[in-house]
């Protein structure tokens, strides 16, 4: 059975995380070989996932850690 694009999109997230079973993965891989649109959708989704994981995207506010540990020190002195 040949799967369609919509079916591939439903599995994209699990596919990226390596969580689809071997049979579905093989079907998707076969589909990707000939479908440029699904390949682009998959590549772009994976690209977004990689970019948001970079530590530069979300950084703790300057001095956050110092203020936290200073407050903890006050608490630790009390108890």
């Amino acid at each position: 059975m040949r799967i369609d694009c919509k079916h591939v999109w439903e599995h994209i997230s699990a596919y990226i995380d390596g969580e689809v079973d071997a049979k579905v993965r093989a079907e998707i891989d076969r589909h990707l070989e000939t479908c440029e649109i699904c390949s682009a959708v998959l590549d772009s989704t994976r690209n977004v996932v990689v970019l948001v994981a970079d530590d530069r995207v979300f950084e703790l506010p300057a001095g956050f850690s110092d203020r936290l540990h200073a407050r903890l020190d006050r608490e630790l002195e009390l108890r």
Binding site: W9, E10, I12, S13, A14, I16, E19, E36, I37, S39, A40, V41, D43, S44, T45, N47, V48, V49, V50, L51, V52, A53, D54, R56, V57, F58, L60, P61, F64, S65, R67, L68, H69, R71, L72, E75, L76, R79
Partner: protein, 209 residues
């Protein structure tokens, strides 16, 4: 040995409870980032998220004797952070956006990806350009809170499905569904805008030249 090592954590907790209080700094340090960003996701306000993160750390310290070790330490800390965040949200009834109802219920929406004919990869080096980081942050901040929380823990803090589910008090199935939808929404929002950050031509000569 890192503080993510359960044996180290158990030993650390034992020593803190027997009086080596200063070790608590070491124990809590690896949790700082996920705690802050989970609270920021819930509260949408940097100052309040920071205050709530400090409050969380103090509650963790005061309740340390209650940690039983049946979950990872970080998961336990994140569930305390989540309760702290939800408690604060409940106090602010006027916050219509991201209402508490939204936390319990999956929202319907369009999870169809942006259709593209081709894709040129945007390398992480492109994050040297501040506007790319800003673009990604805005897209994540604009997600409904139930999706934002999952992206934050799974994709940004890189926690596994099980730990994310435990920290958010939802099933592993819900984590997967929400992550899938969130990624689809992010791809749809970001793919057209990211194109400008891809290397212009031959990568051999460096990107963005």
């Amino acid at each position: 040995m890192t503080a993510h090592n359960p044996e180290f954590e158990t030993e650390c907790i034992r020593r803190i409870l027997s009086g080596e209080k200063q070790l608590f700094h070491t124990l809590i340090r690896p949790c700082e980032r996920p705690v802050y960003f989970l609270l920021l996701s819930l509260l949408h306000n940097e100052a309040e998220a920071e205050d709530a993160a400090q409050e969380t750390a103090i509650k963790v310290y005061r309740n340390l004797h209650l940690f039983r070790g049946d979950s990872q330490f970080r998961t336990w800390v994140l569930s305390i952070a989540r309760n702290e965040g939800l408690g604060r949200l409940r106090k602010v009834e006027t916050r219509r956006e991201d209402s508490l109802e939204g936390l319990a219920e999956d929202q319907s929406g369009d999870f169809t990806p942006a259709i593209l004919a081709s894709w040129r990869e945007v390398p992480v080096e492109a994050l040297e350009r501040k506007e790319l980081g800003a673009l990604l942050r805005t897209a994540i901040e604009d997600l409904p809170v139930i999706y934002r929380n999952v992206v934050l823990l799974r994709d940004i803090e890189e926690m596994d499905v099980r730990e994310t589910a435990a920290a958010l008090g939802i099933t592993e199935g819900a984590v997967k569904v929400r992550l899938h939808r969130a990624r689809a929404m992010l791809q749809r929002e970001l793919a057209p805008k990211l194109k400008g950050f891809a290397p212009k031509r031959a990568r051999l000569f460096g990107w963005g030249a």
